[in-house]
Amino acid sequence: MLSILLWLPLVFGIVALLVPAARAWVPALAGTALTLVLAAVVAVGFDPGDPGRYAESVSWIPELGISYSLAIDGLSVFLVLLTALAWVPAVAFAASRNAGDGRERLFYFMLLLGETATLGAFLASDLILFVLFFDLMIVPFYFLFGLWGRTRDGATAGGATTKMIIYTLVGSLLMLVAAVAVGFSAEEVSGKPISYSIPELIARGIGESDQYWLFWLFALAFFIKMPLFPFNGWMPDAYRVAPLPALAVFSAVLSKVGAYGFLRVVLPVMPDAAELFQTAILIFAVVSIIYGSAIAFTKIDLRMIIGFSSVAQLGFITLGIFALDETGANGALFQMINHGLVVVPAILIVGLIAERTGSEDLGPMGGLAKNAPIFAVIFLIVTMATLAIPGSPNFIGEFLILNGTFQVSVAIAIVASVGVALAAYYALRMYQRTMQNPLPPGSDSREISLRDALIIVPMVLVLVILAFAPQIVLGETGDAVSAVVEKVGQLG
């Protein structure tokens, strides 16, 4: 079942390569929709008390102890669902805008390859398989940003993607060595033949002194991916040039793989190191929150606002994880979902705004709400969620995270809260400057079309539902998160 879920997008992507270019979006949309259905089936059938359900494992490279193992548990089930959910509007939006620039088939193939790679990272239950999918994730996006990106504000598509891939690969290649070393360390500790199966590695444990340097290699890779300060150098240019549908999924989902990696691999396998370096990571996280928020409100380019706001949000998520506290970790996982649900509509709305005003800069904008009340409401909900107003699931997430952080360090929690305040500022400014104020000439305030509404509204709807019923997520994830956090807590 999981294998079908994993490979379905790629299969449809290959089909997209074979149909006439003008129709390439059809298999793409069908594939993502079908994947969503499958993901929903898996999620509904998921039972936290029976984590082995759906798991599958086949020996892939026995000489090296690597297996093709997939599994789903409380940590990954909603991330998988988020992935499947996020790709549908992205493909739909791309299809509605005739994306592809003459190379539609390749475009949709790359997009769907990206979905398979991301799903693979979330579903992998073998460490080397995880690293493989992590590395694979960047390849389609290298092509998506590089071939269909537009030069903007001094950033060229080629230059930006090269920078992005170099940053990302530096981290992930080092992580590859670390992963191999983890396997050998666990073999040494346990005396059993080498295996990279993650549950097996957790059970065996690795030597304490090894943990210390392996922790940082993994942390580096994840920090670069999310990105957190100070490894976010690649982000601005990449966000500038990327085509919007690709950027939507990239920002919403791929960044979460980094945070997920901490929960899946680093905390359970390297608990001693996690405890030792907790404060250091918390400081990185809170600096990212302040840095991201501060920069976000100096920017007038909508993409940059969203980009730096993401840095801040990922900082929050990391804060929650490294509070090493059940509440905080649950909050972090919940926030991963929420942020994803917010970012996809936000980025697609940027596209809608650009179509109405001819630019993505806040400077010359205004008054788009004038003839577009429904659009205004949708955007308002998204904005409110971004700033985590009480009544949005993001509020609950941040509350849980801050609660957990408070247990560890009051000072850090207070500084992080400043980030919440800053978020209010840049989010509201973004809304006000685009939607309110007089309408400048050259801007066209028109209502959101039915088609666009159908694309964006579902995710917003899920956000609203989660606001009222967060236990849909929190109820299922609780056990898995506890297991992770307790492992760290079990130390002497």
């Binding site: 490279i61 170099i166 060595v177 191999v180």
Partner: protein
């Protein structure tokens, strides 16, 4: 005094005999007038027959001529790869103006001679056969580099390769002399016995010998700091020859590297592994840094080949069966990725008249997908990205190194791969750049031969991805090579 003729296993010798026969045939065809046209077919046929005879003895391990040649997993696997490179080289050369000018059968005879030497080198189990085979593959190669008589750089590259290559051979020979003197034998197993039985560790004679042999081999497989000739010679030689050299010299060189160091010099493993590790490190740095500023694709591949050779040495440094398996796997991957890339270069040169600059590839992503994809996959594979087989190859090497206690070298391989992003991605970026007003040469008319070469490129690209996803056959293939170096840890 009666003369005892050595034991000759003719069945084991048959692949070599097939190649000798092919060589003789092509030499004769050179003066056979109209018949010369069948020379390429004859050359390919002899290589295919040799390959078939090797496959027919798959899994066996035997002595061919009185202990001087050993046909086992290592020699069979590496020889098959060498023969594949040779066949592809013949295909590449068919449309090459150089081959036409030098007289095709002569060119093919030289190529077959080199292939013969390489195949013998993979089997060499004795200092004498080691030397003969080494020279047998090198000398025709010097001449082959010089066969493009219209270009000055071709002759120059031939002479330069000859001078530096012979310098390497002479150094190697001198080193062999010391090894012989210190161990009292010329056969590899006997050398190991001689070294371990006498108390010679640290003895200056044997250390000098090992050092000089290392230097000599380093010249041949283009390891730094003996790599100076590589970029110049790769650029000057005709492209078909460069393709062959880049891949096959490493195959043959590393085969004997593995066999000599892990059989004959095995007792001294603790002495030489640090030296080899240092050479690997220097090669990785020099090769990657050198490649970054190159505008000529052949020079860039030359420098990157130096770095790749550095990665491969890691497989020998660990002195384990796993290391040899990783080395074999990586070399097979390297062959597919490199020959796929060179196929594209050859077609561009012969069909479109391009030179070998990276710029000339600009924009072929739009105009010529059949060429764009193989070279893209080749570049991504040489970086070591999934889903190519290059990723698994690097993984295997890193695993062997970490397992052998050489984690720092594994990290260095990773750092080298990161540095290599700078130049490999540059090629990918140029290929896919969307400019319609590109200065690149437009595609010219295709012929059946060129179509075939494009096909070769595509096949290698497909194999690179295929083995990247389902690597089992390749792992089994590599395991064969590893088995041959039997009694090692790991």
């Amino acid at each position: 005094m009666t003369f005892q003729p050595p034991e000759i296993d003719y069945w084991a010798l048959s692949p070599v005999i097939a190649l000798v026969f092919g060589l003789a045939l092509t030499v004769v065809l050179a003066v056979a007038g109209r018949l010369a046209r069948i020379a390429p077919a004859a050359a390919i046929l002899s290589m295919v027959v040799a390959g078939g005879l090797l496959i027919g003895q798959w899994g066996e391990s035997k002595d061919v001529i009185g202990g001087t040649l050993e046909l086992d997993g290592l020699s069979i696997t590496f020889s098959l790869l060498i023969l594949l490179a040779g066949i592809v080289a013949v295909l590449f050369s068919l449309g090459d103006p150089a081959a036409r000018e030098a007289g095709r059968p002569d060119f093919l005879a030289l190529l077959l001679g080199s292939v013969l030497g390489m195949v013998l080198l993979t089997q060499a189990n004795n200092l004498v056969t080691f030397f003969i085979a080494l020279e047998l593959f090198s000398i025709p190669l010097y001449a082959l580099c010089g066969t493009d008589l219209r270009r000055e750089d071709s002759l120059e590259s031939g002479l330069k390769y000859l001078i530096i290559g012979s310098l390497g051979s002479a150094t190697l020979l001198f080193g062999m002399a010391f090894v012989y003197g210190a161990s009292g034998a010329t056969g590899f197993e006997q050398i190991a016995d001689g070294l371990s039985s006498s108390d010679l560790l640290g003895d200056p004679i044997i250390l000098t010998g090992v050092g000089l042999v290392t230097v000599g081999l380093a010249f041949k497989v283009s390891l730094a700091p003996f790599h100076q000739w590589t970029p110049d010679v790769y650029q000057g030689a005709p492209t078909a020859v460069t393709a062959f050299m880049a891949v096959a010299t490493k195959l043959a060189g590393f085969a004997v590297f593995a066999r000599f160091f892990l059989t004959a010099l095995e007792p001294l493993a603790d002495e030489w592994d640090v030296i080899l590790a240092a050479i690997a490190a220097i090669s990785i740095v020099v090769g990657n840094l050198g490649a970054i500023s190159q505008d000529s694709l052949k020079r860039m591949l030359g420098y990157s080949g130096i770095a790749q050779a550095g990665y491969m040495v890691g497989g020998i440094v660990v002195a384990s069966t796993e290391g040899v398996e990783a080395l074999s796997f990586y070399l097979a991957a390297y062959l597919a990725l490199n020959l796929g890339t060179f196929a594209v270069l050859v077609v561009r040169e012969q069909r479109d008249g391009s030179d070998d600059s990276i710029e000339s590839l600009r924009g072929i992503g739009r105009r010529d997908r059949a060429l764009a994809w193989p070279i893209t996959i080749g570049m991504l594979g040489l970086i070591g990205l999934p889903p190519t087989v290059g990723f698994l190859g690097k993984l295997y090497l890193i695993t062997a190194l970490v397992d052998g206690g050489w984690t720092w070298l594994g990290i260095l391989i990773v750092l080298g791969s990161m540095a290599s992003l700078a130049y490999y991605l540059r090629v990918v970026g140029t290929v896919w750049s969307g400019e319609t007003e590109s200065p690149g040469h437009a595609p010219g008319p295709s012929s059946r031969l060129l179509g075939l070469i494009v096909g070769v490129g595509i096949v290698f690209a497909v194999l690179s991805i295929g083995f990247g996803i389902l690597p089992d056959p390749l792992y089994d293939f590599a395991a064969q090579a590893g088995e041959a170096i039997g009694s090692l840890p790991g």
